[in-house]
């Protein structure tokens, strides 16, 4: 029953995000095609640097699509969907003033969180996936080499979005308000991106920067692989890290809701 209610509460937001992802994915696909056309014209009279290198041009299209367009857009889509859906799950109950009613129902409190998480994560998988899958027809049209390189980025994006969803859900639960949870989690994300750079640049502290870059290698886009000619690889360590972060937030949320006063 609560599953149906939670879906009813979040469906407008989910549909808007899916439509936005489809539009942005389509635009990325158009960029891929225009990029391919531009380079096909260049290939007619290849510049010296291109003639000297022996890489496959269609690999270039695929990796360009992945690194330059799909990942930055999908990263933003994952970030926004994770923040928004994470804050609006339990946050919707706080906003409507129905949280005390929901918590006094004869069902384990953790079920409330598991249901919200199930709906939120499904929506995130669809939103981020629809952005990436939208590019496939254009990649085929541009005769890029297989969609595998785009697909390989998806698990990383999904677990990253799940971790952000967990962060937003937890901060909302602790703050007792969707908007406060949203602001707190957005501040954490910005600090995570900014502070290691700042400390490295200003105080020459490298440890934080290295740690952050290791966790964010899921967004590398395969450039190193492309330039070194190595096989495409999965960043298992980073994916496991973000999965652990998401699971940690879920555990912390369950512990919080189990022991909190009404």
């Amino acid at each position: 029953m609560y599953l149906w209610k939670a879906w009813q509460d979040s469906r407008t937001r989910v549909v808007v995000y899916i439509l936005a992802a489809l539009c942005v994915g389509g635009l990325s696909g158009l960029q891929v095609v225009s990029y391919a056309n531009y380079h096909l014209q260049q290939m007619a009279t290849p510049p010296r640097w291109l003639a000297r290198l022996s890489w496959n041009f269609y690999m270039l299209i695929t990796f360009e699509a992945l690194g330059a367009w799909v990942i930055p857009y999908a990263k933003v889509a994952a970030l926004l969907a994770g923040l928004s859906l994470g804050a609006s799950g339990v946050g919707g109950e706080y906003g409507a003033g129905t949280m005390p009613f929901v918590l006094t129902r004869p069902a384990p409190r953790r079920n409330l969180l598991f249901t919200d998480w199930a709906i939120g994560l499904t929506a995130i998988v669809i939103v981020v996936g629809s952005l990436a899958f939208c590019v496939f027809p254009f990649l085929c049209y541009a005769r890029a080499q297989g969609p595998g390189n785009v697909l390989i980025a998806l698990p990383g994006l999904w677990v990253w979005a799940a971790a952000i969803y967990g962060l937003a859900s937890f901060t909302t639960l602790v703050a007792g308000s969707a908007s406060k949870g949203l602001v707190l989690s957005a501040a954490v994300v910005l600090t995570y991106g900014f502070l290691p750079d700042a400390l490295h640049s200003w105080w020459h502290v490298e440890a934080l920067l290295k740690a952050r870059d290791w966790t964010l290698q899921i967004f590398n886009g395969g450039w190193d692989v492309f330039f070194n000619g190595a096989s495409v690889q999965f960043h298992w360590g980073a994916i496991a890290f973000w999965l652990a972060v998401a699971a940690g937030f879920l555990g912390a949320s369950v512990a919080w809701i189990q022991y909190r006063e009404l």
């Binding site: 804050a87 949203l182 640049s201 020459h204």
Partner: protein, 252 residues
Amino acid sequence: MFFWNCWLRNRYRLVAYLAAACGLVLLGTLPVTLKSVHGHQVYWHPRTVGDAIGAWDLGVNRTLVVLVLVMLFFAADLGSRGLGESAARKECDFLLTRPRTRRNFVWSAWLAALTQLCVLELAPITIAIVTLFAQTSGIYSGHLWPLSLEIFVVSVLVFSGAYALTLATGSSQSGFELAFSLLIIYTLGLALFPPYFTFYDLEWVLRESSYLDVVPWHLGNQPVHYGVLLMMAAATAALTFLAQFGFEKKDL
């Protein structure tokens, strides 16, 4: 009275942002005269005016980076408060029974936020100036004031946009979400479509917020485009009047 209500409601938020901004500015300005000697970082006092100006430029750039981040985020956050929070808390029914026009409420909340933005802008700048003066024994603020003005104008624009969006949607969460999304899309647009955004030199500040000191800083040689600032001020006024118009027509 409503002006003070809005001020007091956001005071802890302002204190938190002030602490973050001042802490980051200190982090950025303290090491401008650090020098590596035999593998150790030591402070040195600039002996020539050129050295002092170099230290100031470094400190001013870092202060501006911090200001951009904190001011834009605070503006989006603040825009979703004020009347937006009153709507979220279902307080509007009570609020509107008071013998004041709706226009009065809209502008009171807007002015309260504007004064808080001023405080958040000036306090870190003061700390930066004091810190840099203590290290160099001189004041060479360079492009600090014109660019601070630009950041302030952009922040007020972002705040007014979030304010209008929050009043339109009737939810502080939706208002903040929309404003934050627009900010991210704008920043992403700078990275992906630079030719479309080069009309405005604040782009360098936004870029620097991503790359910090890795890329060279060219702001000192660029003029401030006061025409663009005026356009932004006009857009700010238009958004606030739009918010006022929407609130006056809203069925509450």
